[in-house]
Structure formats: C-alpha cells, structure tokens
C-alpha cells in the first residue's frame, strides 16, 4: 500500500469518526450476561429493555435512542473490556445493566472515570453503596444486604432460633450473608461459602446443614445454581424437615423449569423481594401485561429493574430536553426518582440506592396453573441500606 493510499484511508477514517460527533441520539450501553447458562438472566433483561424502548416509542427528550448490548460472559475481566469498549469506542452517554456484583465492581471505574452515568439494573455491592459511592452512579435495584435483611426479619417473626447459611463465595454472596446476619436475632449454627460459579453439587453442604439440626436454612443462589440447589434439597429429603428461606434463588426464570422438573417441594416456599409480579401499581400492570403478551412468560425481578432503568434514563434526558452535555441537570433529575416505577413511588438515598419497601412472597400456582409468586406481607417500609451512612454525598 502506498503512502497516498494510506493517507487517503486515514482521511476517510477521520471523516467517518467525526460524523457521530453531533449527537442526534441518546446512546445507551447495556452490559449483561448473554452467554453461559446465566444468559437466561441476560435475555430476560434484554427483553425488558427492548420492551421499555418500545413503550417509550424509541425516543427520549426528543432524541432517538440507540442501545448497544454487550455480553460480559459472567467474567469480571470481560465485563470490564466490554465496558471500556462502550465508553471509548461507542462513546455512549449511559452504561446500564450488570447482573453480577464482581463484574460491576471491576467495570465501574471505566464508566465513572470517563464522567458517564452508570445505572446498575441488578448488582448492588456494598462498596458502591458506602465509601465508593459516586454522584454518577444510580441503582434501580437494591443494595445486596437489603433483601436478606428483610428475610432476617421474617425469620425473627416466625420464631426461627437457629439458622444454617449457604451462599456462593463472591462479592454478592458475602453481602447476602452479612445482610441476614445483620437482622437475624437467633444463632447462626453453620455457614458455607461455596466456589462460584463452578460448584453446582451441594451434597457436602446439605449433609452438614442436616447434621446441624438448624430450625431453618438460608440460601442465596442466583441463576442455574438455584435450580440445582432446590433439586438437591428435595432429594436429600430436607423438604418438610428444615424450612428453606431463600433470596434471589427462586424466580420467574427458574419456576417454569421447576414445574417441568416436578419440583413440588418449592411450592409454598418463602422469599423476600422489593417487587412482585402482582404488585398493584399502574406501571407494574403495564409492564407485566406487556411482557407476558410479548414474550409469553412472566418477567423476573431482573426484568423489572431493567424496565425501570430505561425510565430512569428517560427522566434524565427529558428533564434536560435532550441536551446531553447538561450532566448536572440529568443527575439532578435522576436523583429525584421522578419516573413511573414498577414498584410504585420511591426515593433515592444519598448514595443513589433506592429507599423502598420489601415484601414477603410465596410460591403459588396462578389461575392457569403456572407457578409464580404472590405477595403475602410487607416486611420493610421505606428501607434504606446500612452502608448509606458511609457515603459522603
């Protein structure tokens, strides 16, 4: 190739690169897990984000919306690479998504360091809620500790005196254990942190749990590990012997599989959550009905949070009338949480994590015989995470 051709190519490339500089669209990067078995979670989030995009007519603040989906492969290092690519190459205005706390922790700096907005649609690691909180970071989900804290309260109310805890050994798993330990007043008689995400066989842990003679077992196993755990709990004959209390383990993604696999033991089991498909808010009805109509299945809580994240971004872009350079205006708008949320109205705390209600849910069959969950009780009203006080914001 001659110098002439090279420089011509260079000029052409420059011309191409400078084209998108006049932003006629809002660009949103979305990082989630689309491969590996956890891809089923990513698909639910992607479907919810696409549905939300449809529901807002593909526009916010008068601008078109462009979404770039990236797959983190369930690995922090890949998640960070993809985030870098979104921030540097695609020059997105918002980065949203993130199922996994360890992936989010690895990726957050790439976004926040570049002065962009980061919206977590699931992961809620304690670090980002406390000391490392950031003005440009928002969560449409929860802080990891909150849901297990609600479960701890439920356990107290039910008179559970001793508890055996099993969770995976990574950022969120440790937060979940810390959460239940924080509010549970009885004694924790045993605790296992298992290899994540590799370990799916829990024979040793279940044998220990049985030998401990605890009043209850608390678990946190998101994604496919949850299915494996529930199945083995039943096979070990622990159903009906030691009640199982779970967070983020039984959801709309795993329930159809349980139903197919005839895992009757999961019926009637309890979990805590900030949201439920049967929550009676106008936005939630619209979301659940729309989702079921379009995809022919119940949305998961992952989907609900993701749906909210699109509306949060819209509230920011609407507030500045599409002027994406007005970061202060967008930040102030988002901090107000002034958008229709599936969970009804809520506030953001100083650390930009929601202050919200938590519900007790039970697994039931709906009118058509499909397994789903029904809300039974309000455990916490306007609950704020315990790390907010460490956040200097």
């Amino acid at each position: 190739m001659t110098i002439g051709k090279l420089s011509a190519g260079f000029v052409a490339a420059l011309a191409l690169a400078s084209l998108p500089a006049q932003a006629a669209s809002v660009k949103i990067g979305f990082v989630t897990t689309l491969t590996t078995p956890a891809g089923v979670i990513g698909r639910d989030m992607q479907d919810a984000f696409n549905l939300a995009l449809e529901d807002i007519g593909g526009k916010m603040g008068g601008l078109d919306v462009e979404v770039f989906y990236e797959d983190d492969g369930f690995k922090p290092e890949i998640g960070k690479q993809k985030t870098d690519k979104l921030v540097q190459k695609d020059d997105v205005d918002f980065v949203a998504g993130y199922i996994w706390s360890h992936v989010l922790l690895a990726s957050q700096k790439s976004v926040l360091g570049a002065g962009k907005f980061l919206i977590s649609a699931n992961a809620g690691p304690s670090q980002l809620a406390g000391k490392q909180c950031h003005e440009n970071f928002f969560a449409t989900s929860w802080q990891n500790d909150q849901t297990p804290m609600a479960m701890g309260e439920v356990l107290n109310k039910r008179g559970v005196k001793s508890l055996y805890v099993i969770a995976p050994n990574y950022a969120a798993g440790k937060n979940m254990v810390a959460g239940v330990e924080r509010s549970f007043k009885g004694k924790i008689v045993g605790k296992d942190l298992t290899k994540w995400p590799g370990q799916l066989d829990f024979s040793a842990e279940l044998a220990k749990a049985r030998a401990s003679k605890a009043d209850g077992v608390f678990v946190f196993y998101p994604g496919k590990a949850g299915g494996a755990f529930m199945k083995q709990y039943q096979q070990a004959g622990l159903n009906g012997k030691i009640p199982l209390y779970s967070v983020f383990t039984v959801d709309s993604l795993s329930l159809p599989l349980f139903q197919k696999g005839k895992l009757e033991g999961v019926m009637g089991s309890y979990m805590t959550q900030f949201w439920a498909p049967d929550l009676d808010t106008p936005q939630n009805k619209k979301f659940v009905d729309g989702f079921r109509k379009k995809y022919n299945r119940y949305p998961s809580f992952y989907a609900a949070q993701t749906y909210d994240s699109m509306f949060l971004i819209k509230s920011a872009v609407d507030a500045v009338k599409g002027d994406l350079t007005n970061k202060d205006g967008m930040r102030a708008a988002m901090a107000k949480a002034d958008f229709p949320s599936v969970r009804g109205s809520f506030k953001f705390g100083n650390n930009h994590f929601p202050i919200q209600d938590f519900y007790l849910r039970e697994v039931v069959a709906d009118a058509d015989g499909n397994w789903t969950t029904a809300t039974r009780d309000v455990v916490y009203k306007d609950h704020q995470d315990p790390y907010a006080k460490d956040c200097k914001m």
Binding site: L193, A204, K224
Partner: protein
C-alpha cells in the same frame, strides 16, 4: 463432627468420584492411547445430559431417556472423531487444544440454539427422588446411592473389557506402545474411532447421571473437565485403574475439604479467619494434590505398564 456425618460425607465424596471417573475414563484413553488432548470431552458430557433430558421428556421415563441417549452420544462422538479430530492426531498438542476448544464453542452455541439458554431439568421417577435411611437417623438421597451402584457396575464392566477381552488387550497395547501395535497389523484408525466413541459414551453417561442433580445446562462440561484432567494426571495418563483410584481420591478430598476444613482450621485460628480461609483452601485442595503428585511421581500414581 459425628461419625454418621463422616460416613455421609464419605458417600458424597465417593459419589462425586464416580462421576469424575466416568468422565476421566474416556479422557485418559483418548489422551493416553491416541496422544490427543481433547478439551471437547466436556461438551460430550453436556450433549449427553441434554439429549437424555430431551428423551426423558419425550418418553416420560428417565431410564428410557438414558438408554436412548447413550447410543446417540456414541454416534455424536464418532462423528466428532471422523469429521474433526481425526486430522489432528499427527499435529502437536497446541493445535489439538485449539481445535477442541473451538469444538467447545461450537457445541455450546449449538446447545443454546437447540435447547435455549435456560437448560433442562430432568424429573426423576418417584422411587429415585427421595432419600432412604442407610443407618437409623441417617437419610441419604436414593439417587446418589444409585449413582454409586451404577458407577461401580460400569467400572467393573470396564475392568472386564480392558483386562479380559481382545479389544481390551489392543487398548492396553495401544496405551503402552502405539507404533508397535500399528506395526503388528492392527487397524489403528478403526481402533481410535472406537475408543473415541466409547469415551464419548462414557462422558455422555456421566452427564446423564449428573443432570438430575445439577440440571442439564450449557457449559456444564467445562466445570467438570478441569477436575477430570486433574484425575487423569494424578492417576497416570492412559491408565483406567489409575483414573478410577484417582477419581475416588479427588472426589473424597474435594468433599472432605468442603465439609471439615472450616472446623479443622477453626481449631488453631480465629473463627472469622477460618471462615474466610476454608472455602479458598478447599477449592484449591485437588490442585495441591496434583502438584504434589507431579512433584514426586510425574508419571502419575498408576501409569500404564511398559510406557517408556
């Protein structure tokens, strides 16, 4: 810690070892006899599980599912050998690793297209789905006991096949000295295809057996492939007997580490430190074992005889 818990955990370790053995048996034959590093062995484990799940759904019976899926995996294995791997025997190990890694990606994507990302749960018949008391007050999952029984039966059948039959003699001869077997007029190509298909069926069987416990999922093969490699390295590459004993050792060490390490560490460090150290150490245990074996006996514990 009580004796009944120790017994229960030993059974758990034994059961894990049995599944590892089924995986490792095929792997060690292919690696030892054909000198072929086949990372895609885990994919055959996954395909076995998914096929079994599908057949179980069609027929409504887990047993029929297994019986139908076994020959199907055998065919898949032979196809993989004939189409992709046959051309790689003469290439060096790096090429084989690359190509079989490509096969992993191919199979994972294929599984995603055919079965979807959510995987399949396999319902067990009621008589297998509960637990029975092995000792008064010690219930044990019936299915896991069944796995141990079936695994031991397969191991015995393998022993008979390898030690008492002519095919087995060829397999053993191939493991000891490939070139010589070829020079004596044995159709090495056919032997390789057979061994590969057979190894695939064993991996598939391991997947079918594991699926009702861990569910059939994309990528399930990768998580068992690495321990399976540890087993064949510890046992001695190419040795079925070595694979069997090493699989049981690895299964027991892994399970015992998960069960008792926190208590053990707690006796000489603070409960908090033990709580953090135990999961990390128990996850490393089998690799430490492999490092120790490699240091003192680089050829493995029970290498095939006559390898020089």
């Amino acid at each position: 810690m009580t004796w009944t818990l120790l017994l229960e955990q030993s059974l758990n370790g034994f059961q894990l070892g049995i599944v590892l053995f089924l995986m490792a048996a095929g792997l060690t034959l292919v690696f030892g006899i054909m000198d072929m590093v086949n990372l895609a062995h885990g994919s055959l484990y996954m395909i076995g599980a998914l096929l079994c799940a599908t057949f179980t759904e069609w027929t409504g019976s887990f047993l029929l599912g297994v019986l139908l899926a076994l020959p199907a995996v055998l065919v898949v294995g032979i196809l993989v050998e004939v189409v992709a791997l046959r051309t790689l025997y003469k290439r060096d190990h790096l090429d084989q690793v690359l190509a079989s890694f490509g096969l992993i990606l191919f199979f994972n994507e294929l599984a995603r297209i055919v079965w979807g990302p959510e995987g399949m749960a396999i319902p067990l018949p009621a008589w297998l789905d509960g637990s029975i008391e092995i000792l008064p007050g010690v219930p044990y999952p019936t299915y896991r006991l069944m796995v141990i029984v079936v695994g031991l039966a397969v191991a015995a059948a393998l022993y008979w096949l390898v030690v008492k039959t002519r095919t087995g003699m060829l397999i053993r001869a191939g493991a000891s000295n490939r070139t010589m077997v070829g020079a004596l007029g044995v159709n090495i190509g056919l032997l390789f295809t057979l061994i590969f298909g057979f190894g695939a069926a064993l991996a598939g069987l391991a997947g079918m057996i594991a699926a009702p416990i861990v569910q059939a999922n994309i990528g399930m093969g990768e998580s068992i492939l690495i321990p399976a490699f540890v087993v064949i390295v510890v046992g001695g590459i190419g040795s079925i007997r070595g694979a069997f004993i090493a699989a049981l050792i690895v299964g027991l060490i892994d399970t015992m580490g998960r069960s008792f390490l926190d208590v053990l560490l707690g006796t000489f460090m603070s409960a908090n430190a033990a709580e953090t150290a135990a999961p990390a150490l128990s996850a490393m245990a089998i690799y430490i074992l492999m490092a120790v074996v490699l240091f003192f006996r680089p050829q493995g514990l029970f290498p095939p005889q006559g390898r020089g």
